[in-house]
């Protein structure tokens, strides 16, 4: 750790991992509810489990991004963080607000929660992924702006690098596009249209810039390849990401009442979206092959390469599977979407945050890399989680194909719930692989507590 203020990243990373565990537990609960419908009912109904599963994912990734920024920016800018104190205050505000929101989801019926939290003043609730009460949404904006102030002031007073520029662009974009969550027109088409400006322009737009910056930072550190080389590719990749991703938003506009040209625009541009992801994979492997040093933190390199591969498969390939309008006509909103969602979020965002944590955490704990033993345990975590995610995706894809066939393509289409019964075997298989994922996650958490001789101390 080169700057004292980087230490503030540590609580963010710990909170992120804690919430990650919570997310997976709720994933398992709802995974079981797919096949045992009344499991934990009425305490935790399916819709609540789903809301907690997805909201926790977003919140812990945000903790991860913020922690990553607090770790990276002082080092990149070669100066202490503008205000470590503000970072600490925001940490507690965000953690308490996030926890209260989840408690609200679990303890109070959703309609009651809406009433209690002033949804009447400005109705923003009740929309997928944007279920948060108004006060939580306002809280997110306040925390995000204060965080961006802190990070931007640090960059302004120090060295400006391409990595921090791309990171800042991504983080500011994240905050700006979240503002559309407050826009909730009564026209359903407009509502959905701008809803995607948060959801899609986050994950297929500005978040990819954050992903690129985090990956570039870790690659610079572990490979020792010239910064100029890595930055050049970072620019090419993010430029292509933005062009394909922004117009690619159109793949959500096929059937919501928008003009017909979106079917062409959405199909063609989103068909190009795998290209920047593929370039990121090639980029990661290329940089590691050209490495000028053998960094003792092997597992961080493994995570970085894994991010490249899994982001390409999950976001790129599984996205392409159902992105063309004529295909999507049948597959829209089926388990194929769920398959894509799982692998894309894991491959792109979960893995890149874990890459950064894997690289930074040993340094935050005063050593360049963890002991060999700890790294091996973490690698078990990597492989168990990654391989089980591949199988979760494959089982959901199989469920999706069967569902689409039974429910939409066959000459005697089945009703939704009847088709669901037919694909139950795949839901059981998914649940079992979900348990393996949890075991992988436990191994990952355990790796932080494994001792053993460390090779070097922090520089």
């Amino acid at each position: 750790m080169q700057y004292q203020s980087q230490a503030v990243a540590k609580p963010y990373f710990i909170a992120a991992i804690g919430l990650f565990v919570g997310q997976i537990l709720f994933g398992l609960i709802m995974g079981l509810q797919y096949v045992v419908g009344d499991f934990l009912f009425p305490a935790i109904p399916f819709n609540v489990a789903r809301m907690v599963h997805t909201n926790l994912l977003i919140v812990w990734l945000l903790f991860g991004f913020m922690g990553a920024a607090y770790y990276m920016v002082p080092e990149e800018s070669e100066t202490e963080l503008y205000s470590p104190k503000l970072a600490w205050i925001l940490f507690w505000v965000f953690l308490v607000a996030g926890a209260l929101t989840v408690v609200g989801y679990l303890m109070v019926p959703y309609a009651k929660l809406a009433e209690m939290t002033g949804n009447d003043l400005l109705p923003t609730m009740g929309r997928e992924f944007l279920e948060q009460p108004l006060i939580t949404k306002v809280g997110i904006v306040v925390v995000a702006l204060a965080f961006l102030f802190n990070i931007s002031m640090t960059v302004l007073k120090g060295r400006k690098t391409s990595v921090t520029m791309v990171l800042l662009l991504g983080l500011w974009g994240l905050a700006v596009f979240f503002l559309f969550s407050f826009y909730n027109p009564s026209n359903l088409v407009l509502d959905k249209f701008y809803w995607w400006w948060v959801v899609h322009l986050w994950v297929e737009g500005v978040w990819e810039l954050i992903l690129g910056a985090l990956l570039a930072f870790v690659l610079i550190k572990v490979t020792g390849v010239d910064r100029e080389v890595i930055e050049k590719w970072l620019y090419v990749i993010i430029a292509m990401t933005l062009v394909t991703g922004v117009i690619g938003t159109g793949h959500h506009y096929f059937w919501i009442g928008t003009p017909g040209y979106w079917q062409w625009w959405g199909s063609i541009f989103s068909a190009m979206e795998p290209i920047p992801f593929f370039m990121m994979t090639v980029f990661a492997f290329n940089m590691v092959n050209r490495r000028r040093r053998d960094h003792p933190n092997k597992v961080a390199t493994l995570w970085a390469l894994g991010t490249g591969v899994m982001a390409f498969l999950g976001a790129g390939v599984w996205g392409f599977l159902h992105t063309l309008a004529p295909v999507n006509y049948y597959t829209h909103g089926s388990q194929i979407t769920a398959a894509h969602g799982h692998m894309a979020f894991y491959g792109a965002y979960v893995m890149v945050v874990l890459t950064l944590i894997s690289y930074a955490m040993p340094l935050l704990r005063g050593r360049q890399a963890n002991s060999n033993k700890a790294q091996v345990v973490e690698m078990w975590g990597f492989w168990l989680m990654t391989v089980s995610m591949v199988f979760i995706t494959l089982f959901l894809t199989a469920a999706g194909i069967l569902q689409v066939w039974l429910q939409r393509v066959s000459t005697t289409p089945m009703p939704f719930m009847q088709a669901q019964d037919q694909v139950a075997i795949f839901y059981w298989a998914r649940e079992l692989t979900g348990v393996v994922f949890l075991i992988g996650l436990i191994a990952y958490v355990v790796s932080f507590f494994v001792r053993g001789e460390t090779k070097a101390t922090a520089t």
């Binding site: 050049k232 040209y261 062409w264 063609i268 190009m272």
Partner: protein, 193 residues
């Protein structure tokens, strides 16, 4: 007459390797758009032919000449910088930019006429393709002009030499791609019926 000499097979493409990735992605996108146009037209020949008649082929032809000539000027710029004449390269690049600007003006005029005539992306499938392709290409010309501007400015201040001129080649390659796309787009959308 001596046999033409072929470039060595293992020689790297001119310019920065990254630009070739960009060009590959661009051509793939345009290529898919062109194929989509072709297949859709095959099912709507009468509509496409009727709508196409309303396009201004004369301006399109002038624009083709402008872009091809500007590409030639860019070739001269690369040759000049290879001969270590950075200032001459800048002159050629400025001239190429002038022609590119001419393309922009004619195109804006064409869009203004279309807008006045009430043509939108939703008018019909032909105009959807026409507007998507031409506006998308138009934006590439704008980006290309910015690229040429940056390298022209650097060439003007002597930033390139016979030994190091990757930037000029990179910009030139991009400009040729913009030109080439138009060479396919113009006959496909404006002329062939």
């Amino acid at each position: 007459m001596s046999a033409p000499t072929l470039p060595a097979i293992n020689s790297r493409p001119p310019g920065d390797l990254a630009i070739w990735f960009v060009i590959f992605a661009e051509l793939l996108t345009f290529g898919i758009f062109f194929l989509s146009y072709g297949f859709t037209r095959a099912h709507n020949v009468a509509l496409f032919d009727a709508s196409q008649q309303l396009l201004d082929r004369r301006t399109g032809a002038i624009n083709t000449v402008l872009l091809i000539t500007s590409s030639y000027f860019v070739v001269r710029a690369v040759a000049a910088v290879k001969a270590d004449d950075s200032r001459a390269a800048a002159h050629w690049l400025f001239a190429a930019m002038g022609l590119g600007a001419g393309f922009i003006l004619l195109k804006l005029n064409e869009f203004a006429h279309g807008y006045a005539a009430g043509i939108t992306l939703s008018t019909n499938t032909f105009y959807m393709f026409y507007l998507s392709l031409t506006v998308f290409h138009f934006l590439h010309v704008v980006v290309g002009l910015l690229v040429l501007g940056i390298i022209a400015q650097k060439a003007w201040t002597g930033g390139y030499s016979a030994a190091e001129h990757t930037g000029v080649e990179t910009g030139a390659t991009y400009w040729h791609m913009v030109d080439m796309v138009w060479i396919v787009l113009f006959p496909l959308v404006y002329v062939i019926h």
